[in-house]
Amino acid sequence: MSTQLTTLLAVFLFPGGLFALVLGLSLKGLDRRVAARLQGRIGPPLAQPFFDLVKLGFKRTMVPATASQPVFLGAPLVGVVSMLVAVALVPVSGLYSPDPMLGNLIVLLYLLMVPAIVLMIAGSASTSPYGALGFSREMTLMLAYEAPIVLAVLAVALRTGMGQGGVITFSLTDIIAYQRSHGMFLLDPVMWPALAAFALFFPANLGIIPFDIPEAETEVLEGPLLEYSGPALGLFKVMSALKAVVVLSLGIALFMPLPFDGIWGLVGWLVQLAVLMEIGVTVVRLSMGRMRIDQAFGFFLKWPLLLAIASVVTVTIVA
């Protein structure tokens, strides 16, 4: 009973649910603010994503006449719920470790795919040609980046498992515990290829500029989100905010968990999130142009895949 209660709390309060939502939206606001400063503008207030969300709540949701209503309105809900569970699956070093019954790294990787799938479903359910275009682009991109990320995560799991004397471990709690006792993987040259592969996967999964091809505003008019308005669009915003938290804190858990406990662990984690958001998202998205879908596909099948394979091979050889 108490484990169920703690799990529920983890999903809806901390670190999932409300906390992650506020955190994700604040990170987005920080991103927009810093982006504006880097471009020499003043930029919106930090709470702008919250304003946007409240505003969307007041707008009317329009469902296209030809769209399938249950799928059209259900898709964002599925995305938000999957992300809520995913946040509860990522442990925070020295602060929170999920119930092993809730799931492990493999479940998390599955859940990380759900937002992309949800966007694809939403795009095709809207029956808009732009949505269909977004669908095909999202699918192509997902096919390209899924393999490198799975291999990169596999390398981390192998390294931890072999370090612990076993073969492989898919428990993020174990991975963090191993790094806390042996030093973080960020400083371990053996793990650098995996880190590079993960760093390349990260903008693609968050859908920021070099790889925001499925939702390109200027090409396919925000693609799958084209037909969404009002609260349904707000749910998508919530989903992407939660996703940013999940992917960022997964990166932190895999490569750079801080060896602090309690309140310092929380502060350190928040600082890490903010710094990663600025370096990994803001600077990247401001300094690059959007790739074409064939360029992005070729890119992901070249460098990240090579890096990921290299990382698995080196980890096996070193161990």
């Binding site: 919250f50 925000e222 989100l225």
Partner: protein, 145 residues
């Protein structure tokens, strides 16, 4: 129940802007792009954001004298925008026709077909004038929400 006016005043801090080019010469469009994109004017500071899809829009900026060919398309796009919305006519062309008035291929003034709320005259209006018009539109939008 008392929370709702507060939320409404929060909501008006996030007006998303959509542009309809109803046969404009692009002068006004350049000024609108300038208003949004150039650091000097930075409309994002007011929470505004240009959006690609009419479904996301709150404030519609219409430029151009509404040529006969583009009229049907412009009306279709306009009806896609969910309520509550505010319409702003940018430049003299949509307001009165400007130098294109009484041309056989022009349907201006557009307030015969669109419920225009705010007019921003000028050929083209300077970016500050557009910001002023948007500020007026936000006031109207607040009443309408």
């Amino acid at each position: 129940m008392n929370m709702i006016p507060d939320f409404k005043s929060i909501a008006t801090k996030s007006p998303w802007i959509y542009r309809i080019n109803a046969g404009s010469c692009n002068g006004c469009d350049v000024e609108m792009a300038t208003t949004a994109l150039i650091p000097r004017y930075d409309i994002e500071r007011l929470g505004c954001q240009y959006c690609g899809s009419p479904r996301h829009a709150d404030i519609v900026l219409i430029s151009g004298p509404l040529t006969t060919k583009v009229m049907q398309a412009a009306l279709v796009v306009f009806n896609e925008i969910p309520d509550p919305k505010v319409t702003v006519a940018v430049g003299v062309c949509p307001i009165s026709g400007g130098i294109f008035r009484e041309s056989y291929s022009v349907k201006a003034p557009i307030d015969q077909y669109f419920p225009v709320d705010v007019n921003v005259p000028g050929c083209p209006p300077r970016p500050q004038a557009i910001i002023e018009g948007v500020a007026k539109a936000i006031e109207i939008w607040r009443e309408r929400m």
